[in-house]
Amino acid sequence: MTFSERMLKIDRRIIFAVIGVCTLLPLLYPVGLPIKISPEVRGVYDYMEALPERSVFLLSIDFDPASKPELHPQAIALLRHAFRKNFRVVAMTLWVSGTGMADQLLTQVAQEMGKEKGKDYVFLGWSPGGTAVIINMGQDLYQSFPSDYSGNPTKGQPVLDGVQSLKDVNYAISLAAGNPGVEAWYVFGKDKYKFELGGGCTGVIAPGLYPLLRSGQINGLIGGLRGAAEYESLIGKKGRAVAGMDAQSATHMAIIMLVIICNLFYFSQRRASKQQHQIG
């Protein structure tokens, strides 16, 4: 077996170790490289900035704990921004396994910003039906969620004053790790009930949402940890996403290096086998 062949069949535990080191070291010794703001993230930020106080902001936390590292920082940054702008925050989830996490993160940010439940924010929780919930909310919000997650009746809560359906929402953002998520909110929500929609998603599904962004079906997109870090930079409150960007930089670079090395060995092996074939 040639050196190239041996290198191409390298023990995968060595690769795991490289990735482990590239993730851990920057977390222990952060560098803090500057983060460039992309137009899609700025689209969300600028729209939120332009909205007046007490606007109704709907945040659909459509992910479960598996996507927490990427989408939790996005949710925290968006909620901080919304509360700072004094919006009325209506949060909910279309993913049953994300309900507890969504409640915790909303309560945590609301407490940090000194906001009052029922007056400044409400967590509607989860309701069965997937995309049907969106249509039902578009028809009558109180039919989909007669009570909030804490069991209090939604009708009569000051935070929902003047809100009858999705048509009364000023801005909605779905933070999605899959389906139902941003696309469902566009197809079953924005398209019919005409409210402005933004999106946030994991890095894996971000490329799939670019057609919606380019056609103006969503007015901005926060993609993955990078998007969260950009949003944290925009609101001037750096958190976990910015801290994680160094680790992501290092792992991306490690994977690029691994791909380049593997291709070098691949071509060297191919050339060697060609030469052998010619001699033979």
Partner: protein
């Protein structure tokens, strides 16, 4: 019996399909009321579907345990996990916390489900790196193009990449916004046209596989 098994479901499908396709274009309050009621039904059916799903899962794994099939131990773990969680959930009235204090159900969620799901997702990075090293090779011209695009996007999406090669950020944006978006849109249009065609086939009873393959 054939009438109840075949004709009635086909008739219901055809009527509801046509009614709700037309409903979208009729902004009359009566039409909106029909949609409100139908979506409420959908939500109720969704709730029952959840019960049906859990029952089916239990049934499947019970059979595995009974027959002592390969990996039956995992089914036992699934049973213990599900029954334990359901019991704790009922005991805590579905609440993860009461007055700020975590319930047993909340404890299961916070200290079992959250870390387990997080771990599953986190190990992806290791497997992606390993898979990239083993199979991301420029074997053909097309593979080489894919490889170069991937490297550019990976560089452009992290601050270190933009710092080392400043143009990588703009190039990555261009790849995502122009090349990726246009190809995705083409795929989306194709899929949507296919979905419309399939919907027509279901509405008019040409496609009947959803009725199941029972004896007539």
């Amino acid at each position: 019996m054939i009438f109840l098994r075949r004709q009635v479901p086909l008739l219901i499908t055809m009527i509801t399909g046509l009614v709700f396709a037309a409903q979208y274009y009729i902004p009359h309050p009566a039409s909106e009321q029909v949609l409100t009621s139908a979506t409420k039904w959908l939500q109720i059916i969704g709730g029952f579907a959840l019960v049906l799903g859990v029952t089916s899962l239990f049934h499947q794994h019970a059979a595995k345990i009974r027959r002592k099939e390969a990996g039956w131990g995992y089914s036992l773990v699934l049973y213990a996990g599900m029954l334990g969680t359901i019991a704790m959930g009922l005991w805590a009235n579905g609440k993860e916390s009461i007055d700020g204090a975590a319930t047993a159900f909340g404890w299961i969620y916070n200290f079992m489900m959250v870390p387990l799901q997080g771990t599953m997702f986190a190990i992806l990075a290791f497997f992606i790196a390993s898979a990239a090293y083993r199979s991301f090779r420029a074997r053909s011209r097309e593979a080489a193009v894919l490889l170069i695009a991937a490297v550019i996007v990976m560089m452009g999406r992290v601050p270190l990449g933009e710092y080392l090669i400043p143009i990588s950020g703009d190039l990555s944006q261009w790849i995502l916004n122009v090349l990726n978006a246009s190809v995705r849109r083409a795929i989306l249009i194709g899929v949507s046209l296919g979905a419309i065609a399939l919907s027509f086939k279901i509405i008019f009873g040409v496609e009947r596989s959803y009725l199941g393959g029972g004896k007539e």
